[in-house]
Amino acid sequence: MYFTQHFWELLFQGIRLGSLYALIAIGYTMVYGVLQLINFAHSEVFMSGALGGVFMLTALAGTNGNIPSGFSAFEYTALALIAGAVVSAAVAFSLERVAYRPLRKRHAPKLVYLITAIGASIFLYNLAGKLFGRNNLQVPESFHSGPVFVLPGSGPSGPRTVKTLDVLIIATAFVMMIVLDLVINRTKLGSGIRAVAQDAETAQLMGVDVGKVISRTFIIGGLLAGVGGVLYAMFHAVSYTMGFIPGIKAFTAAVLGGIGNVRGAMLGGLLLGIVESFSQGIIPNGLEWVDVVSFVVLVVVLLIRPTGILGERTGRAA
């Protein structure tokens, strides 16, 4: 049977995809925690990070097809990741400043928030389409992705080898998540974020600058989404509409893990990636139905356990 034959390969693919979903889902879940807002524009934050990384790579490596090696390969990759993270964080920050802060100052109702997020999302990705063309962008390779080790089981064309790119994606994602977990649980900023998510008004009385915390929450979400975007760009098509599907799936992952719960988002992302990957192996013509499967997963999770696997942690900002 296809599924049992390819179990390890599918699992590995699921983890690779899932770790990216987790990176994006963290942004959703943190913003939902402090503002109780589904930040639809987060998918555009992700997209802008991917674009930033691609532009950086193009500026460094050019489009002549030469693959850098040695230290420059490492350097280019790192710079692309940083560029993506910075661009995404900048977009997320200005989004909060321009779109959400006026609403927050007015205590706007939730419907207004959501529609603003939708408007920002559609505006941003169409603006990106106008600025950088509506075709897929060329992504120069920043390093030679050679085989690292071989997975057990056999793939469609011989055994599946794990390549440098795969290792890079998973390692970066996991390092980012561990660092974030430390930041959330060990630092002053992290306790500020947790306090605002729990009860914004009381946090304000205790001397937490709620505006600043919300702003920084957006920046952290943007940083992670940007790194996720650059990693995604390395094995996937990059265009102005690339954000939508990963964005909505990352939100599914956040709900799956328990919205507002950062560890839940990590777990949910990994789980969703694995579910998707397995469904490709189990369902005939699985690739066509992947999106449908993940939405069905969302609805089923909402039905059975609306608070997610690890439980939700939300409040409402002042």
Binding site: Q36, L37, I38, F55, T58, A99, P102, L103, R106, H107, A108, P109, K110, L111, V112, L114, I115, T116, I118, G119, A120, S121, I122, F123, L124, N126, L127, G129, K130, L131, F132, G133, R134, N135, N136, L137, Q138, F244, I248, F251, T252, V255, N285, E288, W289, D291, V292, F295, V296, L298, V299, L302, L303, P306
Partner: protein, 496 residues
Amino acid sequence: MSTTSISELSAQVRRLRKQDAWWKNPMLGRLAIILALVLVLSILTNQVQGSSSDYTLLFKSSWFSSRGAQYVIGGVLIWIIAEAWRIQGLRRIAGQTISVAGRRTALIVPRSFTRQYSRLAGFFRWLIPNRWFRRVLVLAVVAVAIFLPYLGLFTLPYFQSVLAGQVGVYVLAALGLNVVVGWAGLLDLGYIAFFAIGAYTTAILSGKLPVGADGNPEAHPPIHLNLFFAFPIAVVLTMTAGLILGAPTLRLRGDYLAIVTLGFHEIVLQLAKNNPHNLTNGPLGATGISTFRFNLFGVHYDWNPTDSKPYWFLAIGLILIVVFAFRRLEHSKVGRTWTAIREDEVAAAASGVPTVKYKLMAFMIGASTSGFAGVLATAKITAITPDNFPLQLSIFVLAYVIFGGMGSLTGVIVGASLMTFLPFFLQGPPSWFNSGKPVVDPKDIPMWVGAVLLTMMIFRPQGLIPSKRRAQELAQAEHGVGDADAMTEPAEGVAP
């Protein structure tokens, strides 16, 4: 104890607050905002489209060019005028204070002017809420709408087609979404999915789908109905779809509905594209869908897709029926229940209102109206593919409702007509004006729609022609009194 002079202390305070920093001057801050706006506008209004091979193209052509210079100069001029006006205003206020102290009248208005003005204003204050005046006004507007295809611009077939295929259809759809967003306070982002269900139902009932398994067009099923019968069938189908989707999700926190409906739209699109059992014919869709026929009481009339006028008349008729029904609904028990749920769900539930049931009702009514509009649209365009129902379209219809003023039937009709008509007006038929070039590139329309949504929500969430009640709710919610939506946790708790 050390002694500090007051001047030293104040200097210290000033240093701490950085009040003496020249860049903290609010005037310069306003200049920066205006310049940023102008630079963004310079990109947005630029006809040039960026390219994926030269990322800096658009920046070069809209900033580092005469165009950019014009925009910056314009922005600086606006800033200077605005600041001068502001300073003038401040001076006048200061002058008034002094003159009051000197017991001099600050502003003299001729009494005759005030009297005339107040008489005119009084007339309008009497006229506008007058019931008979309103009835005459509505009749006049309907009459103008019916004869629109014979007036000026609209005698062009291009604009007639826009009227019938866009304005009529989307006004109808927006009226339905208004029930969901405006009245029940729920956010439905997959509204066009129901539209697509209506459209595919139409294609199936007119015998063009499912296509035979071997691609043989003769293998069509023998169903071939007059499309007027597609209306009730599509309504029933979309209502069922709305029930299936809404029943589980409406028990949850309201904002989950938004994402689930968005996912539902994507699922419907995937189903249409993946062509299960050859039901939808995949990306090719259906062509040659038949259209409306009237054959009753000895009167026989066939609608003809090449002439848009009859479709417009039909659309107006349907809109009138829907508006009449919805007006009745708005002030009925159901409508008042929606208001109660919107304003305070907990209080409504405590008063014995089954909130989930009423929210579901709104959702189903919205869905069925969308299916209704889908039938009308399909009969007009006679060919559908999954690409006719992109996700953006759902958000567009939401934008029409928001722009016009959610909760207000007049507002929604005006908003939807304006926002569907304007893009086609600005594109124009070939050689319309602007020497055949579109004023706004059609590819930029979604961007403008997003910008409209964003600015409306930030500056005028109640919309162009707001419903009084809705505007008040939004204002009250901002002061922490009640809600303006059904977005919080349902009072009845989570699913059992």
